[in-house]
Symmetry: C3
Subunit: 203 residues, 3 copies
């Protein structure tokens, strides 16, 4: 009846919030061992005040900004400005997973539209690729020439800030590339607040 | 009907939680560019153990404690002790906003009364002022002699930990002063856990 | 009636979430002054990548890892890997409370089972002891030979991630020992994500 349905609604909402909002394991999570191993150029104007410093530090870690894992693979309140900010309206990020996983979904999170100063910097059309480095854990190894395509998706700024995309044909990989093909209209930067990778660990 | 009303209650509660609890933009937010640029004297006994260190570091940044932005302009769990602690039962804090804003409300947050060891350190009567420095972004610039009055408000310890106060006659400013006229009875310090500034960005 | 009951469910869920999930004061909280003052050996493999470093830093602080307070006495999203990881399937942690407290409950939190990579590392059977050092705040003081027994409890991996255990015969203490007698099956380490101590402060 109605009462039971509503009670389930409450419980479901609470359960998901308490479970990182997706209720799923995240194999890209920094505290679990996930790492950003490559990305396109970052904007030097991520947040007022630390532009010049960030610009200087950037690219010291073989091209990977030292705060990348904290920005996009670590849970936080995801308030405006707390993101990895790619230069321009498109770009990519490569993530090494904590272990090989048969990837069945990814989740992209932007700051909440109610709090955002501007939603134009949110990714719009994205593409997911993956590859398997067979235990090569070198942080700065190059991806192979041929990557496994895992789907095209669209992040909608009118929706919930946390949006999951199911992969129709799961493959086992230990690296995932997130390609942002375009954003919601910001000419200078594109912000990635959090990226999660879900699936079944390969045994 | 009842079922729809309750469903809306659930959704509203979840939406606000996911949106920094206010569902509004915060122009004082540290990751957005907000900065504490002045404050009255801090207590040297903010938390057991880091009293002496804090006391030493304090006032090195032209009188602004280096952790001020983290303490009161950054979202956190806002657990007891994680605050900017003014010396005595009254004082003030000056905040530079990320950009000029027609301020229509401010929000003061104290730690939750259920978790607090003592609610006496909460601000009680507050006054909000503002000024417009016309793009002078110098961190330690002095406020002008005449400030714009934006209202008198009272924070109630019996209410929700997050309390918003509407400004009846909005003005466009880029700095806001929070004056704590008195607190809820603590003689030695007054804690500010988070301060948010809302409004319409001036174009 | 039904409508009122459900509304109370919603309010209760929201209230607890906003109040550190327990709605109680936590006298072990790091920002309140709680400190880890001793623990059994930690695993050197807490998280991929920082194993060797942690191993080296460990035991510099008279046997207390410098990140202990952050790991288990500080609120966070409690995502997988963000824990104090004891070596093996059993061990203990000693915590100095912010002040003497008549302890009436403790709370043990593990990462959410929906997000966890593996729940085997969760504590199972635990024992709580306490002692009163009479204001001796020395960080590395030894506990007395005879401790006050405060109960035996079991953490269930099928339950909520936050589990509180009531102490049937409260005693006033300023230190608490959490003994993990065994875990849920992990042979190499046991993870403690957060430990809270509740009660009535002694006046
Ligand atoms: K982030
Ligand atoms: K705070
Ligand atoms: K933790």
């Amino acid at each position: 009846d109605t009462s039971m349905k509503l009670k389930k609604h409450i419980e479901k909402a609470a359960t998901l919030w308490f479970a990182d909002r997706t209720g799923r394991q995240d194999f890209a999570l920094s505290t679990g061992g996930g790492r950003v191993v490559g990305h396109s150029q970052l904007t030097p104007f991520v947040a007022r005040g630390d532009g010049p410093l960030m610009s200087a530090v950037s690219f010291l870690r073989s091209g990977v900004h030292p705060k990348s894992d904290e920005w996009m693979l670590t849970p936080s309140m995801e308030q405006p400005g707390d993101c990895l900010a790619l230069h321009g309206s498109y770009g990519y990020v490569d993530v090494r997973l904590r272990q090989p996983v048969k990837v069945d979904a990814v989740t992209l999170e932007h700051t909440n539209s109610l709090n955002a100063y501007d939603m134009h910097s949110a990714p719009r059309d994205i593409q997911i690729f993956g590859w398997y480095a067979h235990g090569n854990n070198c942080k700065h190894s190059k991806p192979p020439k041929s990557l496994i395509a895992m789907g095209n998706y669209t992040y909608h700024t009118a929706g919930d800030s946390v949006q999951s995309f199911e992969v129709s044909a799961p493959h086992t990989v230990d690296h995932v590339r997130l390609i942002v093909k375009n954003n919601h209209g910001h000419a200078r930067w594109t912000c990635i607040y959090r990226f999660r990778v879900h699936g079944i660990p390969s045994s």
